[in-house]
Symmetry: C2
Subunit: 899 residues, 2 copies
Amino acid sequence: MKSSAALKTTPADKLVYTFGDGKAEGDVTMKNLLGGKGANLADMCALGLPVPPGFTIPTDVCVAYYAADKNFPAALDDQVKAGVAHIEKIGGRSFGDAKNPLLVSVRSGARASMPGMMDTILNLGLNDATVEGLAAKTGNPRFAYDSYRRFIQMYSDVVLGVDHDVFEDLLDLMKNERDFAQDTDLSADDLKELVAQYKEKVAAHIKRPFPQDVNEQLWGAVRAVFDSWMNPRAITYRNLHDIPASWGTAVTIQSMVFGNMGDDCATGVAFTRNPSTGDKAFYGEFLVNAQGEDVVAGIRTPQPLTVQGKAEGGDLPSMEEVMPDVFADLVKIYQKLESHYRDMQDIEFTVENRKLWMLQTRNGKRTAKAALKIAVDMVNEKLITRDEALLRLDPLSLDQLLHPTLDPNAKKTVIARGLPASPGAASGKVVFTAEDAEHAANLKEKVILVRIETSPEDIHGMHAAQGILTARGGMTSHAAVVARGMGKCCVSGAGDIRINYAKKEFTAGNATVKEGDIITLNGSTGEVILGSVGTVEPNLSGDFNTVMAWADAARSLNIRTNAETPLDAKTARGFGAEGIGLCRTEHMFFDAERIIAMREMIVAETKKAREVALAKLLPYQRKDFVEIFRIMDGLPVTIRLLDPPLHEFLPHTENEMQEVADASHLTLEAVKYRASQLHESNPMLGHRGCRLGVTYPEIYAMQSRAIFEAAADVQKAGGKVLPEIMIPLVMTKKELQLMKAIVDHEAAQVKAATGVDIAYQVGTMIELPRAALRAGDIAEYAEFFSFGTNDLTQTTLGISRDDAANFIEQYKKQGVIEQDPFVTIDQDGVGELIRIAAERGRATRAGIKLGICGEHGGDPASIAFCQKTGLNYVSCSPYRVPIARLAAAQAAIRAKVAN
Amino acid sequence: MKSSAALKTTPADKLVYTFGDGKAEGDVTMKNLLGGKGANLADMCALGLPVPPGFTIPTDVCVAYYAADKNFPAALDDQVKAGVAHIEKIGGRSFGDAKNPLLVSVRSGARASMPGMMDTILNLGLNDATVEGLAAKTGNPRFAYDSYRRFIQMYSDVVLGVDHDVFEDLLDLMKNERDFAQDTDLSADDLKELVAQYKEKVAAHIKRPFPQDVNEQLWGAVRAVFDSWMNPRAITYRNLHDIPASWGTAVTIQSMVFGNMGDDCATGVAFTRNPSTGDKAFYGEFLVNAQGEDVVAGIRTPQPLTVQGKAEGGDLPSMEEVMPDVFADLVKIYQKLESHYRDMQDIEFTVENRKLWMLQTRNGKRTAKAALKIAVDMVNEKLITRDEALLRLDPLSLDQLLHPTLDPNAKKTVIARGLPASPGAASGKVVFTAEDAEHAANLKEKVILVRIETSPEDIHGMHAAQGILTARGGMTSHAAVVARGMGKCCVSGAGDIRINYAKKEFTAGNATVKEGDIITLNGSTGEVILGSVGTVEPNLSGDFNTVMAWADAARSLNIRTNAETPLDAKTARGFGAEGIGLCRTEHMFFDAERIIAMREMIVAETKKAREVALAKLLPYQRKDFVEIFRIMDGLPVTIRLLDPPLHEFLPHTENEMQEVADASHLTLEAVKYRASQLHESNPMLGHRGCRLGVTYPEIYAMQSRAIFEAAADVQKAGGKVLPEIMIPLVMTKKELQLMKAIVDHEAAQVKAATGVDIAYQVGTMIELPRAALRAGDIAEYAEFFSFGTNDLTQTTLGISRDDAANFIEQYKKQGVIEQDPFVTIDQDGVGELIRIAAERGRATRAGIKLGICGEHGGDPASIAFCQKTGLNYVSCSPYRVPIARLAAAQAAIRAKVAN
C-alpha cells in the first residue's frame, strides 16, 4: 500500500503558478506539480492561445496542508492574492468589485485523472453586491441571478455541506406555484426571490449567513478541494488505481468566461479531424448565446462549424458564415494545436462578446476506423513516424472492424447484461439446445443458442448459431473461448437470466423470452436486447492493411493462431497468422459420425477393444490433419494430443448410452458403471492431458499415426508440412520421455511404410507450476514449450475459470486484483513461473522455441509481457490475430525505445 | 536417465576375489565392486566364521564384458581357474572329479538389491560321472540323482533357454505312470531314468547334448548372469529404482554344502533376539537332514533351537539337546555377529556332517514392539548410542502400536483390497449411510460405513462407525484424511467393490455383502475381509515412552496436531502434541443443530439475513473454541477460518431443502435456485477459502468474534490461550490485508467489551503457487505461514487428490513418480515453492513462524524435508504425532551428522 507512505512536509517556496495573456509559469511537463488540468492550461497559454487567465496552487501545497494538520502554508495567502491580481490585471475586472466583478472557477487537478473525485465550483465571486454589477454590466439581470443561484447551490453543497436536494426542492416548489414547466420560464425576479430563499436555507443549515466575502468564498473552495483528496470516494479510487495518497491534488483558479451573455457570444466543441471517419476536415458544433452544458444537454440543436459540415445535413447556418472572424481565429488555433500535439484534438471554446477563449484541448476520441485513417494520413503528412502511428492505435479497437456491429442509431430494449465475451452482434430466434440450433440452421433460420453454460458437446450447435448467450461462465468460460475462436458473438455469464430448459424459456427481470422469440446480442458490450436490431457488416479498409504491414515490419514476435477447423485455419491465415500454435484434437471427436467410436473407445474394457475403436477414428483424424496441413502449407502446425478427461465425451441420456452399449457389445449397466467410474470431482485437475497418454498409450499412438500419415500424404503431393506435436499437462520429464517415444515410434513406422520423411518436432505445454519449475529437466526431451496460460493461471492462482465469475468481479471491485487474470497474464505470479521456465528451459536447450497458446495470446498487455520475456511467438484465436500483430509491434517498438 | 551414461571399459587387473577358511580378499565396504552378496560373504569369512569357500567376479568385469561386445577379459580364465582351485583346496574336493566332486552355486549380486532379477543355479558341477561319485561318497544315490535332475532343469532353463515346463511335464508323466502322488515317492532308479529323459529333451532343444564339461557349465552360468543384467525385467527394475545400467552385476561362485545328506546334517534359521517381542533370547528353528527350502515349505515341523524355545510350545527336541556341540558353535557365532553388526541378526546356517556352515546374516526384520525393546536394550547394553537407536526405528511402524491389529493367527477370507488409508482393524455390520451408522451407534452396535466416497456430511457417520470402506479415493481422499484424523481404520479406493445404494448391498468379485452382514477391515494392509476377525488392542510399553523421550530431546522441530474436536485434541495432547497446527472450523458446522443455521446463512439473499443466521451460529462456535482452548491450555491453537465452498453444506434431498426454505422464509424454488447458483465445476479451485471472507466478510467476522469471546472466557478463568488465526487460500497480499482488518476489528471489539486482552497472531496458509511466489509481499501482513501442502500439491502438480486414484498407481508402476505426492512431499516441485516462500517470507519478516499442516506433516520423508528447509513445526493428525516426534528426531540427528 503506497498510501501509507509518509507525506512530504514542505512545499517549495513558489506556491502559485500563473498563466494568461500568452504566458505561463508552467508547462505540460509539470503535471506532477500542477496536476493534469493546470499543466494543460499553462501549455495552451504558452502556445499563445487565448486562455482565460488564472493560476494553479500546486500539489505540494496540498501535501504540506495535510502535514500541517490541515493548515495552509503561511506564504500562501500573499501568493494567492498575487495570483488573483494577475487575473484581474489581464481581464480588467476586479474580484469582489461591485461594478465590474471578476468571477472565477475553482477546480481540482491531480497528477493522474481522477474523474468525479470532486465537483467543480463555477461563478465564484458572486455575492449580493457583485450580482448587481454583473447584471448591470451584461444588461442581463436574469443571467446574473441565474448564475448567482447556481453558485449558491454548488458552493453550499461542495463547501458548506448543505445537500443540493434542499435547493432542488425550493426550485420545484416555485415552479409548481407558478405552474412553470421549465427552469427557463423563471424570470429575473423569480430567480432573485429564489436566491433569497436559498440564502435563508443555507443560513438555517450553517447557523450563519451565506458568505458574502469573496475571499472567504475562495479560501473555502480551496480548502474543500484539498479536503476532497481524502474523502472516501477519492481514497477508494486511489486504492483501486494504485495512486499514492502522497501525490496530493493541485487547485486551479481561473477567470470565468461566458458564452451566454448575448448574440455575440457562443460556445462549442470541435475535432480537428472527423472522429467518426478520420477524414481530414475540421468538424464540430456550436450554439450562439449558450453555455457549454447547453451543447451537451441537446435541448437546442447545435449549428455546424463549417460550410462543409452544413452540407452534411441540417439547414442551420455555420459559424464559418455567422462569425467569420472568430471562425478564422479558431481555424488558426486548431491547426496550431494539431501540429503542436501531433494528434487529432478535441477542443472546447467559448466566445464572449466576439472574443474567442480556449477552455480545453485533448487528444480526441475516435472510432477504430478513424484511428486507422488518421494514423496513416499523419504518417503520409510526415507529422508522425510509423512507430508513433502504431503506438497510438488501440489494438483491441481493431476488433470492431472485424465483426458486424449494431446499428448505432437503432432503438434497443436491453433486458439483461452479461460479459462481452466475444465481439460482434447478432439477432436470431432463441433456441435452448445445440440440436435445435443445428436443426434451425439446416432450415436456414438464424438462431441464438441460449445455455446455462456450454460444454464441448454444444460445439456443433454453437457453429450453427449466430450468437451464444450463457447464464454462467466468465470471459474465459468454454462458451467465450470457443465463440471467440469462431469469431462468433457471445454474451456469457448473464447472471440475471434464469433459464428453464423444461419450459423452453428464460426470464430476465420482468421479461420472459420463449423459444422462437427473437433477441439480439451485442458481444462487444454484453447487452441482451429484446427483438431484432439492425447490424452493420465489417469492411476492412486499405488503411487497415497499411497499418498491418507496418506492424509486421516492426514486430519481432511471431503470431500464430489457435485453430482446429479448416474454416478457422483459413480465417486466421487470411488475418495473417504465421502458423497454428494450438490445434486441439479433442474438438474433432464430437462429430456425430465419430462420437460413437470415441465412446466405444472410452467404455472399452481392454486395450484390444480400445484399439479396435481407435482404428475407426484414425481415418477421420487423418482427414482432419490433411485439410489443415494443406491450408497451412509451409507454416508450422502445433497439434496437441488428446487433453480433456474422457468423461467429457460420454453421453448423458439413457438412449445415447444404450447406443454406445450396442456398438460396444456391452450391457447398458456396464456403460453406466464405466461412466460413474470416470466421474471426477475436479475434472480440471483430473485424469487428462498426458495422463491419458500414459495410461492409454494407444490413444496417443493413433493420433500420432494420423498426423504422420496425413503429413506424408500432403508432402507427397508437393506440400510443405511442419508438424509440431505437443504433449499436454506434463509435470515430469518422464511423462514427456514416455510420450515422445510413442510419437517417435509412429513417425518411424509411417516413414517405413510410406518412404516419406517428415521433419517434425515434439514439445510440451507448460501449464502446471511444477512443469515451469522443472523446465530444465523437461527441456531434455522438448524441442519447444508452449505456455498454456489458461491452465497455468488456474493452477498457479487456484482458480477454476469456469467458477471464477462468482467472485472475480468482487475481487476487482475491492481492488484485490486489477485485471481478470484470465484476460491479462498475472505477471507477478504466473509471469514469474513463465520467466523461470523460459530461463531453465534455455539453460538446458539453448535454442528451445517458446510460445504461448492460452487466451492471453490475444491480449495486448500479455503480448507485451511475452516480448519482454523473449518468447518466440504468441498464438491466439483467429479474430485476435490482427490485434496480436499490432500489439506485438507496439511491444517491439517500446522495447526498442527502452533499450 | 542415468542408464545412458557411458559404460567404463577396463576392469582392474584383479578379476576374482576369493573368500573361505577365515580369510577374504573383500569386505563389507566393497559392495560396489563385489555386490551385496559377495561383500557380505567376504565379511563373514573375514570375521572367522565358517563360510563355504568361494570367489566373486566383481562388477567391473560385467561392465568390461558389455564394453567388449559380450566378451570376457582375457585374464579372467586364469583367475577363475585359480578361484576354483582355492575352493578345491579348502574343501578337499575337486571340480569335475568323478570320485570326490566339488559342486558349486552361481549367483548374481549387484550393488543394490535387485530381487528376482535372475535365478540362482545350484549343484553346478554335476554330470554323468560326478553324479555317481556323489552317490558313492554320500551313500545316497537318490540324493545324488535328485540333485542332478534339479541341476539339469535349472541350468537348462536359465542358461540354455529350455522352458522349465518341459521338465515338469516329464516329471508329471512319470508320476502318473507309476501312480505316485509325491516327488518323494520316486526312487533313485526313477530319478536316474528321469535324468536320462531330461537330457534327451535338452539335446533335442539345443541340438547338442547337455554339457558334461563342468568348466563349460561354469562359464555358461557366468555368461548367463552377466546377460541377465540386460534382460527386460532387470532394465525395467533399474528404471523404476533409478539404478544406473553402468553399475553391472558381480557373480559369486561358492562351494555347495548339504544339510540333507543324513542325520548328522541339518539346516536352520535363527534370530539373535526374539523378532516378535524383542526379548534378548536366541530364537530359531532347524530341521535335521533337510535343505533350506524344506524349512520354508513347512511340510515337516521344524524343531526349536533352544531348550527355552522348546518350553514355549511343542515337544520336539531342541538343537541345544540333540547337537550340543554344533549348538555351542552357533551360540558363539551369533554373539559375535550381533556385536559385530551391532544389531539383531537374522542368520541362515547348514550343518553338513556335524560341521556348521554360515550361509547368510543380515539385520533381522522385527515387529514394531520388538524394534523398540531391542533399541532400548541395546542402548542400555551400551552396544549403540541413543542417536543410533532412534535412527534405526521406522517411524511409520509405530502406527502398529497405536491401533488395534488383526489377530495374526485368525483365518481370513479376503474379498477385496483397497488402499491402507488409515491403520488399525475393525469389524462390524455393514451400513451404507451416515444416518444408519449413527442410528446403529446409538444402539451400541458396531458398524462399518461403506460409501462410494465420503463428504463432509458423512463425518458424523464416520465418527459413529468402527471403520470406513470406500470404493473411490486415494490415500488422501476425504475419507482417508478424516479417518486418520480420528484414528479410525479406513480402507479407501477399493475399486473392485461395486456399491448399490438402492439395494443396500455391495459386490466384490463373487461375494455379495448386504446391509447388516459383518465385514472386517485391515486399515494397515487395505484388506476387506468377510465376517468377523479377532483384533488385538494396543498397549504402549515403557520402551515406547523411553524412545519418545529420547526423540523429544533430539529433535528441533515442534510437533503440533490437526484437530477440531475435543476428543482429537485430547488424544493428540496425550500423544505429545505441542499445540494445534490446524483446527478446521468447517467440520464444526455439520452438527444436526447447526447445519440448518449454516444453510440459512448460505441461502440468505442479503447481508442482513446472513448476519441473522450467523448470529445463531456464533454461540456454537464460541463453545467449540472454549473447549479446545481449555484442552490446549498453554499451547498455541491455530484456527483456520471457513475454507470449503458453501455448496458443501447444502442439502441434496427435497425434504432437507424444504426445511431450509422454511427456516429462511424462502420458497423451495428459491433454495433450489441458490443451490444451482452455487454449483461449481471444480470446487477445489472455486469460491472458497478467503474468497468467502472477501465476498462475505460477515462470516469471518462471526468466526473471529467467537474465537476472541471464547479466548476471553478461558483466560478470565485462569487459562492461557494462544490463538493463531489462519486465513486460507490467500493468493495476494491484499486479501490477507482485508481479512486481517476484520480479525483485528473483532479482537478490538471483544477487548473493549470484556476488558480481556488476548495475545493473538494472524497468519495465512501458503497453499497456492502464487502465494509461495508472492510470500515476500504476503509476509507484510502474516505473522506466520502454514504450508497447506495438500492443496499446494494439488495446484502445483495439477492433480485433484480425489481423482488421483485413477492414474497415480499407473504412474508409480511406470516410474513417472516414485511416491504418491500426497503422501510424501514432491521436493522438486512443491518443495521448491516451499523453499522460495520460506526464503521470501523471512526476507520480509525475519522471525516469521513457519509450519506445515498438510497430510505430509505426519510423513517421515516430508518431515526430513521440513527440517532441512528450516521450518519451525509440523502439524499432523493425532495418531501421527508419535511418528512425527520420532521422524523429527531422526531428521535432526541426520542434520547434525551432515554438518
